[in-house]
């Protein structure tokens, strides 16, 4: 039992921190520009594909650096030449635009790389077990993912609290309408934030590609979850995004381990249930089975009972 | 005469800043009442409190004797109170005619009807044409409201406000940003359409105020410093002081 808990914790942490790498960029972009970037997860996918192509030519490590930069450039271009033009039609049009971009990126990837899963692998040096606990190995690559995510988290924290740009961004988050009055080049800041957010997503893709697979549907797998994270955490709150990422990561990992259903609960307290009823699915499905619904259920509940999210100050 | 609107000990703060500080005010039915005051006196806030856009921090609001504090705007409206906006607030993608028509659908009892064709609602359409006539926009009926000139949009704004036939009308700076002739035109319009109705308006232009109002309330720093007929206000020293020697004429 203990080993199950420890390994579920570790797996949840890896997954949760990966989510944070995505959601941090998304929440920064949303709080500053009011743009809910539907294409964020697509940029994550793009990162994995770029890294795959680069790693096939020059190896994993250069890809780790080059691919996020490329994705950042793509993101900045999208902001500069796309989003900015659509801005005058309002936030809904922006959202529709980013939806279109997401669609287009997915199709472009299939056009260029085909529809199959790419054989993008971790480097040899990391494809060994790091340590063995109760007979189960913990792969070095997962530890590497953890290290990169934590590194990014710390770097982000330092940039936001210790640098001038960080202070501008913080000001922009709390008072989105007043940054312009501070006399900064707002469009440039926007493009920069969008680019950096995209690069973070790209980096997440680079390190997730070998672990979660590099295939055209990889954006769809995480896309909606990332939205859940930023809403549950509270829009505009990086800490909220961080904690919500971990929460969702743990939730999904631990759910798999729990084989209990409502029926078992009823049995504990002495209520017997009928297997034949049309509604019997409701109480016979196990927690492990409903794992995929949990984040969305959480989202809906949060929106009903606490519209500001767990840590947000602004109502969504 | 009975009271149309009564404000009792009204307070409103935004954060720690108190904007309205204990306002008591009663407006009689059929009265044309103007609220004036220097910039930052809280006129707009008070206006928005009466029309339920903001919720008061403390105090009560009564509409014809009935407590309406905390009611949503649409309920206030259904009780016969209509308001205009300082910043033009129309339905830009709909035609002028549609704008006016939307202003009266509820009042004419069509509510959420989803089976009647609006083009076949003869009473509504006749009345819409009448309102357009009243605000002098018959020729612009089919134009999308978003492309109207500023003055036209202001007029339309008033048209929407009065379309429902509410007998308490609140106007927020109806002549803001207009030149002399446009202002005169608007004053005439307001006078005409508020015949036999209660009017409460917030206005900067003193000529408009003194030309229209039966009673004037002067608001300074969130408090009422004077309230009375134009003559009385004109002579009130406290008012003169508040306006820092500005000529009140």
């Amino acid at each position: 039992m203990l080993e199950l808990i420890v390994f579920s914790l570790l797996n949840g942490l890896v997954y949760g921190l990966l989510l944070f790498m995505l959601s941090s960029g998304l929440t920064l972009i949303f709080s500053m520009m009011g743009v809910l970037n539907f294409a964020h997860a697509s940029l994550y996918m793009l990162g994995a594909y770029f890294a795959y192509s680069i790693s096939a030519k020059v190896g994993f490590w250069p890809g780790l650096v080059i691919a996020p930069v490329l994705v950042g450039v793509v993101g900045a271009l999208i902001e500069r030449y796309g989003l900015r033009n659509v801005h005058r039609y309002g936030h809904v049009a922006e959202l529709i635009f980013t939806f279109g971009i997401a669609f287009l990126i997915e199709e472009s990837i299939q056009l260029i790389w085909g529809k199959q899963t790419m054989d993008y692998r971790e480097p040899e040096i990391l494809s060994v077990p790091l340590f063995t606990l109760w007979g189960t190995d913990f792969p070095a690559y997962k530890a590497f993912m953890l290290a990169v995510s934590i590194g990014i988290f710390i770097a982000l924290l330092l940039v936001l609290t210790r640098t001038r740009v960080g202070l501008i961004i913080q000001a922009a988050i709390t008072h989105p309408n007043q940054v312009a009055m501070l006399g900064h080049n707002v469009p440039l800041v926007f493009t920069g934030v969008f680019g950096v957010g995209s690069a973070l997503a790209g980096l997440a893709g680079v390190i997730a590609g070998p672990a979660l697979g590099t295939f055209p549907g990889m954006a769809a797998v995480l896309g909606s979850i990332v939205f859940v994270v930023i809403v549950v955490g509270g829009l505009g709150s990086l800490w909220g995004a961080f904690l919500a990422s971990l929460l969702i990561g743990m939730l999904q990992t631990f759910a798999v381990a729990v084989d209990y259903s409502l029926e078992d609960l009823f049995a504990e307290i002495g209520i017997s249930t009928s297997k034949t009823s049309a509604l019997s699915d409701l109480y016979t499905v196990t927690v492990a089975q409903i794992g995929p619904i949990l984040p969305y259920l959480l989202l809906v509940l949060i929106l009903i009972f606490r519209p500001t999210g767990l840590f947000g100050k602004r109502e969504v | 005469m009975s009271t149309a609107i009564e404000l009792i000990d009204l307070y409103k703060s935004f954060g720690s800043t108190e904007i309205i500080r204990g306002v008591n005010l009663a407006v009689e039915q059929g009265e044309r009442h103007a609220i004036i005051g220097p910039n930052g006196a809280g006129k707009s806030t008070l206006y928005n409190l009466i029309t339920a856009k903001y919720l008061p921090t403390a105090g009560r609001i009564r509409l014809r004797g009935e407590d309406v504090t905390g009611c949503p705007p649409y309920e206030i409206n259904r009780m016969g109170l209509a308001r205009s906006f300082q910043v033009t607030n129309i339905f830009p993608r709909m035609s002028v005619f549609e704008n006016v028509r939307c202003g009266m659908l509820w009042a004419m009892n069509y509510r959420y009807s989803f089976w009647r064709d609006v083009d076949e609602l003869d009473d509504v359409n006749a009345r819409s044409r009448q309102v357009l006539e009243d605000i002098g926009m018959t020729s612009r009926a089919d134009v999308p409201a978003g492309v109207l000139s500023y003055a036209e949009q202001r007029a339309l704004e008033i048209g929407i406000t009065i379309a429902g036939g509410a007998d308490i009308v609140l106007l927020d700076e109806p002549t803001a940003g207009m030149n002399r002739s446009e202002t005169d035109h608007t004053v005439e319009l307001v006078r005409r359409i508020t015949e036999n109705k209660t009017l409460i308006m917030v206005e900067h232009d003193m000529s408009v105020v003194f030309g229209l109002a039966d009673r004037i309330t002067v608001l300074v720093y969130g408090e009422v410093i004077a309230s009375g007929p134009p003559n009385e206000i004109r002579g009130n020293p406290a008012v003169r002081e508040a306006y820092l020697g500005e000529e009140v004429d």
Partner: protein, 415 residues
């Protein structure tokens, strides 16, 4: 709305577009290959399509069917979805194609068998024949059986019977974990495993019986942790495609080195992912021999196929060869491409496979009666490796067609 003129113009464009549909061209005999060509199972689907096309080409080189007509296999992407499969089926029928081939996902097969039966009844002059090369849900040749459906692979019960024989022979085996995809096939495998084990070895405890969403789980580590925690000594799984690939990846990452009894743990990258960790541990039940190749004909075919795809591909599904060959034979025997006549010709047909097995299409349920083999993942004694990895499958035991056969409950409605 748009005005009248625009309506007429629109109508003209519409009509022109619709009339311009390609109508039936009689010359080649076309086979609509409805399988996932995109998404998580694209690798399996496209490799199946290549093998079918390759086989058709071989037949064409030898003179085609009906004295010179060519066989053409046309791919239709169903994205592994039953709904999309039916849409593609409509396209296939609309294009005048008379034969469809499908294999991946019994969920799709359940939809197709039903839709084909309905269609053939409603439009008897446009009938189609459904050749199932790999969807092994037993119900397809039992309670859901159809005259218009032929299965060219051993069903899940037949395969599980063979697998559990091997498991039962290991007296030390006490705890088994079953994991599968959450749809009809995964459920059928689990049910068969539970049933067979309780008959053959009631002392074996099933410590886990788990279904996971099909094609959606990318990281199986949580499941592996659970298997590990359950103390299982072996795993039975029917997973295939990406789900098998990711499961074996996670297992090898976590160092889970217990035996896996599988249906499809080879090829399309899976063999490579299992690698050294699975040597002598991963076993799989299948129809054809991988190593040793048994006949020179089979050896040559493998070599030609691998050469064509630069050693990146293996002929992983020999049953596809049987399917296309038996169809060709049936067309020749019926002297027609009329699905009703071809179906009649297929019933009871005997065929000797390229690797020398003699198989029979049982008329009562249209289930091919065939020998089954259990092979082990290894790097010793391998003539043909898979995924260019040095590892491959070595046949360990063989169950004859007669022994592998299971009775059927099929009560077939015949036209």
């Amino acid at each position: 709305m748009i005005d009248r003129r625009q309506f007429t113009r629109l109508a003209a464009v519409l009509a022109a577009g619709l009339v311009a549909f390609p109508t039936l061209a009689a010359d080649p005999v076309r086979i609509g290959f409805i399988d996932p060509l995109s998404g998580p199972f694209a690798a399996v689907g496209t490799s199946g399509l290549r093998q079918a096309q390759f086989t058709a080409d071989e037949i064409n080189k030898a003179g085609g069917v009906l004295g010179g007509r060519k066989l053409v296999v046309v791919g239709f992407d169903n994205k592994i979805s039953p709904k999309e499969s039916l849409i593609q089926l409509k396209r296939v029928i609309g294009d005048g194609i008379q034969f469809i081939m499908q294999g991946n996902s019994s969920g799709v097969a359940n939809a197709l068998i039903d839709a084909v039966a309905k269609h053939n009844e409603r439009e008897p002059d446009k009938r189609v024949l459904y050749l199932n090369y790999s969807a092994v849900d037993p119900s397809l040749t039992n309670e859901k059986c159809s005259y218009w459906h032929f299965r060219f692979d051993a069903n899940a019960d037949m395969k599980m019977n063979a697998l559990t024989d091997v498991i039962a022979a290991n007296k030390k085996m006490k705890k088994i974990y079953i994991i599968g995809q959450d749809y009809s096939f995964g459920k059928a495998v689990a049910a068969a495993a539970v049933r067979d084990l309780s008959l053959k070895r009631p002392d074996i405890e099933i410590v886990g019986n788990e279904l996971h969403p099909i094609g959606k789980v990318k990281d199986f580590s949580p499941y592996i942790a659970k298997i590990k925690a359950s103390g299982a000594q072996a795993v039975i799984t029917g997973n295939w495609g990406a789900d098998m690939l990711n499961l074996s990846k996670a297992a090898s990452d976590a160092g889970l080195e217990i035996p896996f009894y599988t249906y499809y743990a080879a090829g399309n990258g899976i063999t490579k992912a299992i690698g050294a960790g699975g040597v002598g541990k991963v076993r799989l039940v299948h129809e054809g021999p991988s190593n040793p190749p048994l006949t020179d004909a089979w050896r040559n075919l493998e070599k030609r196929y691998e050469a064509k795809y630069n050693d990146k591909e293996n002929f992983t599904q020999p049953r596809i060869s049987n399917t296309v060959h038996m169809l060709a034979n049936a067309i020749n025997k019926a002297k027609s491409t009329d699905p009703a006549k071809v179906a009649a010709a297929l019933e009871g047909m005997r065929y000797t496979t390229i690797w020398g097995d003699v198989v029979t299409m049982r008329a009562s349920d249209h289930q091919l009666q065939m020998p089954i083999r259990i092979s082990v993942h290894t790097n010793k004694g391998i003539e043909f490796d898979m995924d260019h990895s040095g590892y491959g499958l070595l046949t360990e035991s063989e169950v004859s067609a007669h022994v592998a056969s299971t009775p059927t409950t099929c009560k077939m409605k015949r036209p």
